[in-house]
Amino acid sequence: MAAEEAAQWTKCPKCGTMIYRPDLAANLWVCSSCGHHFRMHAFDRIATLVDADFTEIGGDLLPGDPLGWTDKVPYPQKLQRDREKSKLTEGVVCGFASIGGYPVALGVMDFNFRGGTMGTVVGERIAQLFEAARERRLPCVVFTASGGARMEEGMLALMQMAKTTLAVRRFHDAGGYYLSVLTDPTTGGVSASFAFQADVVLAEARAAIGFAGRRVIEQTIRQKLPDNFQTAEFLLEKGAIDMVVERKELKDRLVRLLDYGVGAPLAPPAPTSAETPA
């Protein structure tokens, strides 16, 4: 098997099945053998959701190196490496689109860029997204995937929890409708800010969601945690989230949920295109 052909195959980390990558993409990055949800690239996620009309905002906001951080390699080199690896400029992609005919402000985080950590650019893009949604009277949909605050930007990263919260609150107080979709993994400063400030909090099936990391907790309590701990299903049972959705049903569900917001104080008129669901 040539190297080129081999690169077309990937192994499911859950069940070990070898999957042909184009098939995986066609199946929304869900393993057809075991249902494992692969982490999705932000632009793949957007492509599977929107009505082919995504307009990015804030894409020109790029991170600096406010702390002058160096450990093994300088922070700017890490950023450069992740940019190349992920084809992204930062850990979140924001913009306008419509989903099933419903116009939305859409933010999608990507674990491939610095583990989806929130630094100044992620915070700024999210804040701008909510501000733009407020001005344009759009509902806001945000997909989270994050290891938490980005260490290499220190306290400036932590402060993005405050910044994003202020933008969400202002949007919401004006009557905005906000749906968050927690994907694998959503932890730390992102889970403890805009992820859990939505009107409706959805989670993808089997996503890991929590505040403290699993390892931190295991070290603290010095015992192994049960397998389902911090899973979406666990959180549903504990009352923390509204629903768990399989990826294949996610778009339909989002369209239905968006429709309930059509009469909200801060909402555009109902869609009139042929794409409107019955």
């Binding site: 702390l67 100044t120 220190g154 306290m155 932590l158 402060m159 889970s191 505040f211 931190v216 907790i217």
Partner: protein, 317 residues
């Protein structure tokens, strides 16, 4: 092992020798003033060496010094305090102490994180690490302050929010997120003071404030140095190295515009003059409240928005 406590040992011995010499001198006719002066000079020199320019890691240890004034020391120094308990749903979280208070005659709602002093108290206070119920108590008290038009004063000192199983089960992330959400648009002034360790989101949940004050040797960090080292290098033992990079000192944070005012500590740290420092902090808080009280509500909330909105924002084009 606290590196500041270690470094203090020589100084404390010297202090004791000076005190002994002075009492000898008072009891005998021999003139010992030269020896005393020499020892005092030596003491001052060592003190300057030890505390004059502390490394970030030393600051972390100073912030964790076992004798450092705690949240409840500030609460105890208020003119009046009526503690209000509980989240109304599950339990009273003792890592958070809050209630009505008077500060320089002004009616306020005061909220402090408290780590506890001795072992029993530390356990009672969960080492100052609040669970979700602690943050839900904060939310409740902030709503109450808003309703009655009382300013909110917080004292922040935690290594972080509690990372236990129960806290995760009861949605720690949601509790912190909602605490931030509540503070974001409250109609009354909020003044937060970082008095010891400002550890991550668990600290910020009490510090989304109109004025953020910080004691000189307090630290305020995106994660505890141990936590950051574990995240970055999978090795919590490299905490000192992490501390040196995280920019967690008051000097750093005032430069970044994250902290509005730094309250100086005596040479050797706040614990060398606990009541003096508590008084100074309360005075500074009172001054900040004076200034904020003059603002119309909309202006207050608008400034709060802009204050945090610009942190880490790219320069406007």
């Amino acid at each position: 092992m606290n590196v500041i406590v270690e470094r203090e040992k020589g100084l404390l011995e010297l202090e004791q020798r000076i005190a002994e010499l002075k009492s000898q001198a008072a009891a005998q006719p021999v003139d010992m003033s030269a020896e005393i002066r020499a020892l005092e000079a030596k003491y001052a020199q060592i003190q300057r060496e030890v505390f004059g320019a502390m490394t970030p890691w030393q600051r972390v240890n100073m912030a964790r010094h076992p004798k450092r004034p705690l949240g409840s020391d500030y609460i105890a120094a208020l003119d009046q305090f009526d503690e209000l308990h509980g989240d109304r749903h599950f339990r009273d979280d003792h890592a958070i102490v809050g209630g009505f208070a008077k500060l320089a005659g002004r009616r306020v709602v005061a909220i402090a994180q408290d780590k506890g002093r001795d072992t029993k108290e530390k356990v009672f206070r969960n080492f100052g690490m609040p669970g979700p119920e602690g943050y839900r108590k904060v939310i409740r008290l902030v709503k109450l302050a808003d309703h009655l038009g009382l300013p909110v004063v917080t004292f922040v000192d935690t290594s972080g929010a509690d990372p236990g199983i129960g806290s995760e089960e009861r949605a720690q992330a949601e509790a912190i997120a909602q605490s931030l959400y509540e503070l974001a648009d409250v109609r009354v002034p909020v003044v937060a003071t970082i008095i010891g360790e400002g550890g991550s989101g668990g600290a910020l949940a009490l510090a989304l404030a109109d004025r953020v004050l910080m004691l000189e040797h307090a630290v305020y960090s995106v994660a505890s140095p141990e936590g950051a080292a574990a995240i970055l290098w999978g090795d919590a033992a490299r905490a000192e190295e992490a501390a040196s990079r995280l920019r967690l000192t008051s000097d750093d944070l005032i430069r970044f515009g994250i902290v509005d005012d730094v309250i100086p500590e005596p040479l050797g740290g706040a614990h060398r003059d606990p009541s003096g420092i508590v008084t100074r902090v309360l005075g500074t808080v009172d001054g900040a409240l004076d200034a904020l009280a003059r603002l119309p509500v909309d202006e207050l909330r608008d400034r709060r928005y802009r204050k945090f909105r610009r942190i880490g924002a790219p320069p406007p084009r």
